[in-house]
């Protein structure tokens, strides 16, 4: 066996390279799954032509098509901000993948404050959305951006608080540590609290990603495509489609890590330990993606005021109560 010795820097570079390859591929596959799952749930077929077999290459074809489209910047747009916005949206999504433990040792960087890193980086994207919306010099884009910002502010809290409760239970902010601290039966433990936290996280995540039923920022029937109204070509695909799908997968992976026991087998049974953690992680993340999409296709879009009410009057009080309950469980529980 050839021994390859790499310095820390080289390892880091290789890992980054892998991320740069895996994430776009994942986004493409995720986009395809999105098309197909939505279609079949709505009793349609979805893409059937591109690539031959059940339109497997549809998202790829879409991507290529967008790559060939003209990159239009509106005359009265703020050109620099306009051009920069998609990157500000997309790069943080990529960074999310840096700290997600795919297996016990398969992680780009196990940060001491991994959980915090996720939350922090996840919130940067909204700056990009605001930039995109404002610089487009388009009222629909601006309204979309404002909705997005309002939504983010409202739903950041439930996410942060539910993540904080998880950190309290695990006693660490390191994602590997959190996974290690989880035991079967992951999300239903502690009883009631775990599941409630999970649902809270799910709702917050969907709202933060602006997935239906929380997609008011891009509500196409009212705002065309919200902040992305004026975007075309690659900027559109990176700022919108790609970022959305990659973000969704990232959140599915985060949900897996925080609530579903990450790379651990579904049930603690000897023979299952043989299966590599990567596979477990993949299965669980796929399930999460399915779940997110399922919810997404099931419900109609909320109204803006309903969304805000839901956040401030239901989710945030609930998350505070859950934090309290978690603390009580840690102090007085078994």
């Amino acid at each position: 066996m050839i021994e390859i010795t790499l310095t820390d820097w080289q390892i880091l570079l290789v890992k980054l390279l892998i991320i740069l390859i895996v994430v776009p591929v994942g986004a493409l596959v995720g986009g395809y799954v999105l098309h197909k799952e939505m279609a079949h749930m709505q009793h349609r077929l979805g893409p059937m032509y591109a690539g031959g077999w059940h339109g497997w290459a549809q998202t790829l074809a879409d991507g290529i098509k967008f790559a060939y489209k003209e990159d239009i910047i509106p005359a009265s747009a703020d050109k620099r901000v306009f051009s920069l916005a998609p990157a500000v949206i997309f790069v943080p999504v990529l960074l999310l993948y840096l700290v997600i433990p795919i297996d016990q040792n398969l992680i780009v960087e196990d940060l001491d404050v991994g959980l915090f890193f996720l939350l922090a980086i996840g919130s940067v994207g909204s700056i990009g959305v605001l930039m995109a919306g404002w610089s487009s010099a388009n009222k629909y884009a601006l309204i979309g951006a404002l909705r997005s910002a309002g939504q983010l502010i409202a739903y950041e809290l439930p996410i942060v608080l539910s993540a904080a409760a998880i950190a309290m239970l695990a006693g660490t902010l390191s994602l590997v540590g959190i996974v290690e601290a989880q035991d079967w039966p992951y999300i239903v433990w502690p009883p009631g609290i775990g599941l409630a936290l999970f649902l809270l996280f799910l709702a917050g995540a969907m709202a933060e990603m602006a997935l239906p039923p929380f997609d008011m920022p891009v509500a196409e029937s009212e705002l065309i495509t919200g902040p992305f109204t004026e975007y075309t070509g690659m900027r559109f695909i990176f700022g919108f489609f790609f970022a959305e799908t990659a973000h969704m997968i990232a959140f599915a992976a985060i949900g897996t890590t925080l609530f579903l026991g990450g790379y651990k087998p579904i049930v603690p049974w000897e023979p299952l330990e043989v299966i590599p953690g990567v596979l477990w992680f993949f299965v669980k993340t796929s399930f999460m993606v399915f779940l997110l999409l399922w919810v997404r296709f099931s419900f109609p879009r909320l109204r803006e005021d309903q969304l805000q009410k839901f956040a401030w009057k239901a989710l945030i009080p609930l998350s505070l109560v859950l934090i309290l309950a978690t603390g009580a469980w840690i102090l007085y529980g078994p």
């Binding site: 079949h40 749930m41 709505q42 009793h43 349609r44 077929l45 059937m48 399922w294 099931s298």
Partner: protein, 475 residues
């Protein structure tokens, strides 16, 4: 009941604590695993229902430029141009005839709302619904389709669907006749009755109803159906199949009533009206016709009925009966009709004209009878009664002032599955033909099915234009 609704509303309004959301998700999950019934359109074409309102097809040779459709169209999207043409008289000493020639017939499909009023209103059955629907254009102006295209669509028009069991057909109560096919083909039982004149036809039609009720079973057993074609010679009642023609007076009496129904049917066939002469000769044939009918449908349970009914030929429906003795010589016909007409109080000119017509028809019938014999059994393989099958015969065309000039459009009404042909065989044959013609699978199958249906009920000729074709002229 009201209480019930209130209760249900009440229940629906009760807070569900998100259970409703879960129910919604369950529905989607169920659908995810359900078999998908999507038809992948450009690859697979849906077999649209036969009455689909796709586009409107024009049977150009049927159009008399009466402008009814254009006038009735709520959108005013039918454009018709025409000019009058004078045709030389058909024979020496005749009057030159005028006729409208259709120059342009266009429907603007960008305006058309597919209400079907034009199809409904056309008295000459020149407009039909076709199941075709792929006629998109890149420019809205090109959506105005001219008569060439409209006529092309005629090929895609399906024969009318079979009526429900026991359904009432206004004005044409009897059933289709299978054996008829042959008869219709050879010596179409023309309204020989040239003399019979429209009036008589109508009267017989009206009488027909009660008659049918008595004798002919509504269900139209094979027998009655078989009888029809022959019987179909409306007034002339003399029947077709000249080669076989022999009178069977006795039978004629029995079936008379039934015949009367048949006459109504006969009216349905334009060609029937035409070579009227055949009728005159036909008289002799009845016995044989009867035999034939029997022979052809022997196995049907109703064969007894067959024996009774066939005489259609004999049929001497109301008026013509007295005249049917044997082959009438043209001159005799002339004299007789003249006589009748003057008795009936027609003006001398009219009487003479009608008599002439009768003479001509008698002549023609004789010639035809001689020529027709060999063709009898050979069914033309044309697609099942598709209206398109009709061959344009312009000069005899649409302008139909006198009976003898009635449209002869559908000369070789191919549909003709040869009488008694096994429905399955018909199906196969038509399918083959359609394939050979390059029809799409769906269309081919549909037509084959239609043919089988027709064969099954023994009708050779249910093409749309025949069913109502005579309505206009006669009424």
């Amino acid at each position: 009941m009201a209480l019930d609704v209130d209760q249900r509303l009440e229940r629906a309004r009760r807070p569900g604590f998100g259970i409703g959301l879960l129910k919604g998700m369950r529905v989607l999950l169920k659908h995810l695993f359900k078999r998908n019934s999507v038809i992948q359109y450009p690859d697979v074409k849906q077999d649209l229902s036969p009455r689909t309102r796709g586009v409107i097809a024009l049977k150009e040779e049927n159009c008399t430029v009466c402008m009814l459709c254009a006038r009735e169209c709520p959108d005013w999207c039918i454009y018709i141009d025409s000019h009058k043409e004078t045709l030389p008289p058909k024979r020496e000493g005749g009057r030159p005839r005028k006729r409208n020639v259709l120059d342009r017939f266009a429907i603007d499909y960008a305006l058309c709302m597919y209400c079907g009023i034009c199809v409904e209103v056309c008295p000459y059955d020149a407009l039909f619904w076709s199941r075709e629907f792929e006629y998109a254009e890149y420019d809205i102006r090109q959506l105005t389709h001219e008569k060439e295209k409209l006529s092309d669509w005629m090929a895609t028009v399906l024969p009318p669907t079979e009526l429900e069991e026991g359904a009432d057909i206004p004005g044409q109560p009897s059933k289709a006749a299978p054996a008829a096919a042959a008869a219709t083909q050879t010596a179409t039982p023309t309204a020989a009755a040239t003399a019979a004149t429209p009036a008589s036809v109508t009267s017989s039609a009206t009488e027909a109803r009660p008659g049918q009720a008595q004798t002919a079973p509504r269900e139209g057993t094979a027998a009655t159906e078989a009888a029809r074609p022959a019987a179909s010679a409306p007034d002339a009642a003399t029947t077709p199949a000249p080669e076989t023609a022999k009178p069977a007076p006795g039978l004629a009496e029995e079936v008379k009533d039934q015949q009367m129904d048949s006459t109504a049917e006969a009216r349905a066939e334009p060609e029937v009206k035409r070579d009227a002469g055949g009728a005159v000769e036909a008289e002799g044939s009845q016995a044989e016709v009867e035999d034939k009918a029997e022979a052809e449908t022997p196995s049907t349970p109703e064969s007894t009925a067959v024996t009774q009914t066939p005489p259609p030929a004999a049929a001497a429906p109301s008026r013509p009966a007295p005249r049917i003795e044997d082959l009438e010589q043209p001159e005799d016909a002339y004299a007789r009709v003249l006589d009748e007409q003057s008795k009936a109080g027609s003006s001398p000119q009219v009487a003479e004209a009608r008599a002439k017509v009768a003479r001509v028809k008698a002549e023609r019938a004789m010639t035809q009878a001689r020529a027709a014999a060999p063709q009898e059994v050979a069914p033309t393989p044309e697609p099942s009664g598709a209206p398109g099958a009709a061959e344009p015969e312009p000069e005899q065309g649409p302008v139909a002032p006198t009976p003898e000039e009635k449209p002869d459009s559908s000369a070789p009404q191919a549909e003709a599955s040869s009488p008694g042909e096994d429905p399955e065989a018909v199906f196969e044959r038509v399918l083959e033909e359609e394939r050979a013609k390059g029809s799409s699978d769906a269309v081919a199958t549909a037509r084959a099915k239609a043919a089988r249906m027709r064969a099954g009920r023994g009708a050779g000729s249910a093409g749309p234009q025949e069913q109502e074709g005579t309505k206009g002229p006669n009424d």
